[in-house]
């Protein structure tokens, strides 16, 4: 009884979230498609043709996995942070808090919503990339697993950001000042093996490096880092963030007096 009830509640949040990002597609689905097309044209075609090979592949092929992953990261994070903060701001979060839904259901519902948008944009960007290069998937399970885990991880991170956000500025600060630099310096456009030893070591502190490289391994079969250790680290990090978010939600931090 309780499981089926929580399932209906979970499905309701997911449907609501999907309805939201589809309704505002010019803000959610179109911009990453345009931005990534520009990346493909400018970095992949125009500049990439002069760069030559990277990691044994032509530059366009090399950056596609990174750009797909960048889209997944930004959109799964962005969906949850803006949607959950908006429910706080408009106080419609009270609709959920008065209901018998568990905190776990609420959190899972928002994560699933963020993952749905992240994957949706990921698929759009992948399809667009096919206009510029051809892709072969070398390790399908690793590819699917890492993209899912990354979307989940950043959806949870977006949720935590929204919990602590008190104004709309707070929703933009982390993506602008933390997420974007981490992504750009996360091996999307270059192999970290090209860096001097010191900066290579610094790069290894960046979690995005592992996600991008494992995804690249799934598609191209090459990686700058150990794939199994990276996957394990992503799982541990995702689990840690999940339980922190759940604890915050149960305590009512930022949402209950």
């Amino acid at each position: 009884m309780n499981v089926s009830f929580q399932w209906v509640a979970f499905s309701t949040i997911v449907a609501k979230e999907i309805r939201r990002f589809v309704r505002i597609w010019p803000q959610t689905l179109l911009p990453p498609a345009i931005t990534m097309t520009l990346y493909f044209v400018i970095f992949g075609n125009l500049i990439g043709s002069r760069i030559g090979d990277m990691g044994g592949f032509d530059y366009m092929q090399f950056i596609v996995p990174g750009l797909v992953m960048m889209s997944v990261i930004q959109n799964s994070y962005g969906n949850v942070v803006s949607s959950f903060y908006s429910t706080k701001f408009q106080r419609s979060i009270e609709e959920m808090l008065v209901s018998p839904m568990s905190a776990t259901t609420i959190l899972l519902g928002y994560i699933a919503g963020g993952v749905a948008r992240g994957l949706c944009v990921g698929v759009i960007v992948t399809l667009l990339s096919l206009f510029f290069t051809h892709l072969q998937v070398q390790h399908i399970l690793v590819t699917v697993l890492v993209v899912l885990l990354t979307a989940v991880l950043f959806a949870i991170a977006g949720f935590i950001n929204a919990i602590f956000a008190n104004k709309f500025d707070d929703v933009a600060i982390i993506p602008t000042f933390v997420l974007t630099p981490l992504t750009y310096l996360g091996g999307v456009f270059y192999s970290i093996d090209l860096l001097p030893e010191f900066w290579r070591m610094v790069s290894l502190l960046n979690p995005v490096v592992y996600m991008v490289n494992v995804f690249r391994y799934g598609l191209l079969g090459v990686s700058d880092v150990n794939v199994v250790a990276s996957l394990a680290a992503i799982v541990v990090f995702t689990g840690g963030l999940f339980f922190w978010a759940l604890w915050l939600l149960k305590r009512g931090v930022g949402i209950r007096h």
């Binding site: 089926s4 209906v8 509640a9 309701t12 408009q90 808090l97 008065v98 007096h257």
Partner: protein, 311 residues
């Protein structure tokens, strides 16, 4: 009769140190129409916030139809519907979708949710607006939408926090009729309102909360019987220069043609007119200065004020 709601020693101290509730205990019987009144900042909304899980209590317990709100959360919450004071729905969502989502949050599958949404939207005159974004509704429609949303999971206990605030008289009356109908169908209703006429017309029992404490908790009839003096406003036929002296009655001249007279409930009103007649004063019309409950409410709240203090 079983209890729909039991509060035991419920306390709330906010992070800034404000003690909003100082241990209130309250019991509302199933099927009752209950008024929770109090001045601004008395603790009404905090109480409702705790019952509806929007505010964490600092102590005490809440039971809904015998289910403890902390330990039997799902069973307790399924029985409560809340209509908050301020609009709290997504302004960009469609009216119909708001109800469907709310039903889903209570575990009601989509098909049944759609039937109920239609039923309550029709009942509250919002069916024609089902495809409109909620921000496009008028204030009165938004209030009705919140009532429809609170009913979509068919709770046994409905809590309304100032449901008719800012609503025109016609709509207020139709909302009253709807609430009476719900109560007659067996729903327990708890209402907070600033319109004391509303509480007097609708509610059978009443609790008055002030400064975080219950200062009165009784049935409406017994409460109104405590009113020992009623003040009337008299419109005079001829102007007066000063207030006449009427034995045993407190008289005040509001302006040359208007008198205010406080009449003890033990004295027949005939005495007033006899005394006025003796003074040659003709009265054109007469009305209560304030609603009876309002008069009593003010006294109870004023009695609770610290010496020399005011709001």
């Amino acid at each position: 009769m079983s209890a729909a709601l039991v509060l035991r020693d419920v306390r709330k101290t906010y992070a800034n140190g404000v003690e909003a509730l100082k241990g209130i205990s309250l019991e509302v019987q199933a099927g009752d129409f209950f008024a929770l009144l109090g001045p601004n900042g008395a603790g009404k909304s905090t109480t409702i916030g705790i019952i509806s899980s929007l505010v964490n209590s600092s102590g005490g317990s809440v039971e809904v139809f015998g289910y403890d709100l902390d330990r039997q959360r799902v069973l307790a919450k399924q029985r409560v519907g809340v209509v908050p004071q301020e609009f709290n729905f997504n302004q960009f969502e469609k009216v119909f979708d708001i109800l469907i989502s709310q039903a889903g949050f209570y575990g009601i599958p989509a098909g049944r949710a759609a039937e109920r949404a239609e039923h309550y939207l029709r009942k509250l005159g919002l069916w024609d607006k089902r495809e409109s974004q909620s921000r496009m509704l008028s204030g009165g429609m938004k209030r009705r939408l919140m009532i429809a949303r609170a009913l979509v999971h068919e709770p046994d206990l409905l809590i309304l926090d100032e449901p008719t605030a800012g609503v025109d008289i016609e709509l207020r009356r139709s909302m009253w009729d709807f609430l009476i109908e719900l109560n007659q169908q067996g729903k327990t209703i708890i209402l907070t309102t600033h319109y004391l006429e509303e509480a007097e017309s609708l509610c059978r029992r009443i609790a008055i909360i002030d400064r975080g404490q219950i200062v009165e908790n009784t049935d409406m009839k017994s409460l109104l019987e405590k009113l020992d003096v009623e003040t009337f406003v008299l419109d005079l036929a001829e102007p007066l220069s000063e207030a006449p002296s009427l034995e045993g009655l407190e008289v005040r001249l509001r302006d040359a043609r208007t008198l205010e007279v406080a009449v003890p409930k033990t004295r027949p009103l005939n005495d007033l007119f006899v005394a006025l007649g003796e003074k040659g004063i003709s009265v054109l019309s007469m009305r209560n200065k304030s609603n009876r409950l309002e008069e009593l409410f003010l006294r109870l709240v004023e009695r609770n004020l610290p010496a020399g203090g005011g709001v």
